[in-house]
């Protein structure tokens, strides 16, 4: 049987990308700085976020959406820093998508925000394909995971805007090669901003908080000028 070709040229994640763009425009018009967090399971996303929320909550209105396959444990932990926390349980889905974010926000009367954090499901593969409408994506890499993670998961490192090296307080005990880690991050995402932190001791956390406050100030100035 003969066949013919029909040209389509359609992006498979078009619907997600459109929704993410709408979310991004909405966050920008509302003056909310939105940060996505991605990492492997156990790299310290929740500890990092808890500390960061506590730091920022002193002067800013903060909230967090937190994605996991199951349990509300992370939301309960983050609620020690702010009551504005909502868990998204994805069931069997290994990543968040823009629709999950939109739906979570639609049923959440959280009020105006300065910072909204979206903690993705712990996974260094799948979240890289899905834009959530965030302004920045932070990829976390813990000292315990080894310095070659960026080489093993180049796509997610490349799709992120800044890298956070966590658990620096035990880096020496793990014989973590910081210079190699920085070189590997630079290899997969040249020019990427890198922060070194310990959520436990708090070292480096203020640098991240100051960076975000600067970003918020800049985007508010752009908004005011429009």
């Amino acid at each position: 049987m003969s066949t013919r070709m029909v040209e389509v040229r359609a992006k498979v994640l078009k619907q997600n990308d459109l929704l993410a763009r709408a979310l991004r425009e909405r966050f920008q018009s509302e003056g909310t700085c939105v940060i996505g967090l991605v990492s492997s399971p156990g790299s310290g996303k929740t500890a990092f976020l808890e500390k960061l929320l506590k730091t920022l909550a002193r002067d800013y209105r903060v909230a967090a959406l937190v994605g996991d396959l199951a349990t509300e444990n992370d939301a309960a932990r983050l609620q020690r820093a702010t009551p504005n926390v909502k868990q998204i349980t994805t069931g069997t889905i290994c990543h968040l998508d823009a629709q999950m974010v939109e739906q979570a926000l639609a049923s959440w009367d959280v009020g105006p925000l300065d910072f909204l954090f979206i903690e993705n499901v712990g996974n260094l593969v799948c979240p890289s394909s899905y834009d959530l409408g965030e302004e920045f994506r932070f990829v976390l890499l813990s000292a315990t995971e080894g310095e070659d993670k960026p080489l093993k998961y180049p796509t997610i490192f490349n799709s992120s805007d800044a890298a956070i090296i966590t658990k620096m307080d035990i880096a020496d005990a793990c014989e973590f090669d910081l210079a190699a880690a920085r070189r590997n991050i630079e290899g997969v995402r040249p020019g990427m901003k890198i922060f070194e932190v310990s959520s436990k001791t708090g070292v480096g956390m203020n640098v991240v908080a100051d960076f975000l406050v600067d970003q918020l100030t800049n985007s508010r100035e752009v908004l005011a000028a429009q």
């Binding site: 049987m1 003969s2 066949t3 013919r4 070709m5 029909v6 040209e7 389509v8 040229r9 359609a10 992006k11 498979v12 994640l13 078009k14 619907q15 997600n16 889905i93 290994c94 990543h95 998508d97 593969v125 799948c126 890289s128 394909s129 899905y130 960026p150 080489l151 180049p154 796509t155 997610i156 490349n158 799709s159 590997n184 630079e186 290899g187 997969v188 995402r189 040249p190 020019g191």
Partner: protein
């Protein structure tokens, strides 16, 4: 393993495209997949058959063209293939390159339909 999600999104898109053209009998789907898309080729092929079951696309073939990673070198101002996916630099100038020209595609290029 988000390839099943990708396959389901593809099916939605293809049914929409088919409906817009009055209904197509799709025999094969031609997809462009970048090496830097985060989608695994063999996992997607595996997911495709499962995802198509019970849809108008059941029994269709998935034909994947791999799109290589190309960067723009700020030094020689050319499109170049970096030495690897974890050394994003110009192979000659060795200058780091931030601009990715191709390699991220997850794009349905065309449908092969019964004439």
């Amino acid at each position: 393993m988000h390839e099943l999600s990708i396959a389901l999104s593809m099916i939605d898109e293809i049914i929409e495209q088919s409906d817009a053209r009055g209904g197509l009998e799709v025999e094969a789907v031609h997809l462009k997949l970048g090496v830097f898309s985060g989608v695994d080729r063999s996992a997607l092929v595996f997911a495709w058959e499962l995802a198509c079951e019970g849809t108008p696309l059941a029994g269709s073939r998935l034909v994947i063209t791999t799109v290589p990673l190309l960067i723009h070198c700020p030094q020689c101002n050319q499109r170049r293939t970096p030495p690897s996916v974890y050394e994003l630099c110009c192979p000659d100038c060795l200058v780091p390159a931030q601009d990715i020209i191709t390699g991220r595609e997850i794009e349905i290029e065309s449908l092969e339909v019964a004439a």
